[in-house]
Symmetry: C2
């Protein structure tokens, strides 16, 4: 398990290269929520998501002999790892399922990553990953279970603890593989012992909520969701931290996410990908308001995790929001 | 004509109520432009556009006996004036052409403005405006020719002059009625005598470019453009300032605007309305690069004037950008 010292070391390693992202507020959104919401704007992070932090911390710790890294994420981690590897003079090989959107492929290439197409299924990805490790001597960097990645994401928690004079009452953090929330939770608990830490998860991928209720790591069946950034399971390195440090897991449906997304775009004028609106959707959910009433929990942090919005999905998001 | 002292007084009047908006930069956009671009982010201004500045300055100067103001703008000025009037305890009446989008009507109402529908033509608007003045004793606040509005918009120039230790080499400012550019130009010339001031105008509404060439105020025929924020003519109070202070007027077509808009959304992760991308489109135009080569004009300001994007037009903007 990572410790606060790992996160502090990570911050020292990455702080001159990643952005210390701003904390955004909006009076109209606050009025609607009946609380003061503080958005950690990781959509404005290098490569458009928090993934730049963990990726950079992980590649920075590799020895000079390791010339290459690899992963099989065609999403934000693939872009972040490509960018991070380039910034420390290493090569990043990315296994990308055949048929992935051209915009994702070119994003990886623009950040300097090498794209290797594979069959679009678990067997194909696994085989390609092994091939990349063997052929290029590449170090595989897992998007959420790599301990240095988790420590890197945790630097968000240190920045938040430093930003506020008084601890927040609660913080809402999206959960997919769990790297983001377990890192932030570790950093915040060390600074703010009493803060409530809430995981935000889409109904369609509710393994974290089910695991939390069961008291053990459970894999559930996934259905489709607009929150493509968290369409994955909590893993063995993040689960112990989530079990220990997270107070509640709250799920929301895609319509709630689309409504929150629209509010971020229209009111806050900052660009979020659908998953970036997940935590705000939870802030507006009946479950959150029952468990954490505004009278008692006035000051709430919201992690706006990414801004890599594919503009072609805007009509679908509007349709969902107004459905 | 307004003077620098009017703008300084305006800043004193409004600065505790409007945002001092951030100056955004983006390394990817800079690389593409071959210069350092500095975006004054008025999309993050109260009411989502710079119009809040001028409107608030104008209503703040009215005597206590004036209980109401009016205008016939259903766009950003109508929203800004509604907001400004409310913030000083006055009522704002807005003439809105029948058939205006429901989203604009509700935006005005949300800011506390009273909507009065009129026939969607010049005669209908003029008649309704007169009616509002007579019936409610409302003071008409013109969106671009009111001198206090011009002075209010000029506060952007003071903030820029204060923000940078060294003057910028050039600044690009959208022009419609000319309130924004004549205010900023007045403020900047007083602080930076040598800065090049460039007006950005859509090809489809090129009255400022034609006037500048002719050396006199000319009204041209308008055709359709995505830049709805500047679909209007320079007027008698702004023209003398433009003639005196603006170095060049550069026009761009809608495709160039759509490409710049996409860059702002995808790269900078900040929400712009189409007109908000007009100045960046000029920064990338061949005309600007011919007249103001990057070697000599390295540091360029860009006014990102508004962020009230109607999300339903995103598909049209993408189609234009990729056409």
């Amino acid at each position: 398990m990572i410790k606060i010292a790992d996160i502090e070391a990570a911050l020292g390693r990455i702080k001159n290269t990643v952005h210390r992202t701003p904390v955004l507020t909006n009076s109209t959104v606050d009025k609607l929520a009946g609380r003061k919401l503080f958005f950690k704007a990781e959509n404005l992070q290098k490569t458009g998501s928090f993934k730049a932090r963990g990726a950079l911390n992980a590649v920075s710790k590799l020895s000079a002999e390791v010339a290459a890294v690899c992963c099989d994420s065609s999403g934000n981690h693939g872009q972040a790892l490509s960018w991070a590897a380039k910034s420390v003079g290493k090569i990043c090989h990315v296994a990308v399922p055949r048929g992935a959107p051209a915009v994702k492929v070119s994003a990886i290439e623009n950040y300097g990553g090498k794209v290797h197409f594979c069959e679009p299924n678990d067997t194909g990805r696994e085989a390609k990953r092994r091939e990349l490790v063997e052929k290029f001597g590449a170090e595989m960097i897992h998007p959420s279970q790599n301990l240095d990645v988790i420590a890197g994401q945790g630097t968000i928690g240190l920045e938040l603890a430093d930003h506020f004079e008084q601890p927040l009452d609660a913080i809402i953090i999206p959960v997919g593989g769990g790297g983001l929330i377990s890192g932030i939770a570790t950093a915040l608990r060390a600074n703010w012992p009493d803060v409530k830490i809430i995981a935000a998860e889409p109904e369609a991928v509710d393994d974290c909520a089910v695991s939390k209720k069961a008291g053990k790591l459970v894999v559930t069946e996934k259905s489709d969701t607009v929150c493509d950034g968290v369409r994955t399971n909590v893993g063995k390195n993040t689960w112990p931290l989530i079990q220990k440090l997270v107070d509640d897991v709250i799920t929301v449906d895609d319509k709630a996410v689309a409504k929150a997304w629209k509010m971020i775009m229209e009111r806050m004028k900052t660009v979020a990908e659908p998953t970036g609106a997940l935590a705000l959707a939870v802030a507006f959910s009946p479950a959150f308001n029952d468990l954490y009433p505004a009278q008692k929990y006035q000051r709430v942090g919201v992690i706006l995790c990414g801004g890599n919005l594919d503009l072609s999905i805007v009509p679908r998001m509007l349709e969902l929001a107004d459905s």
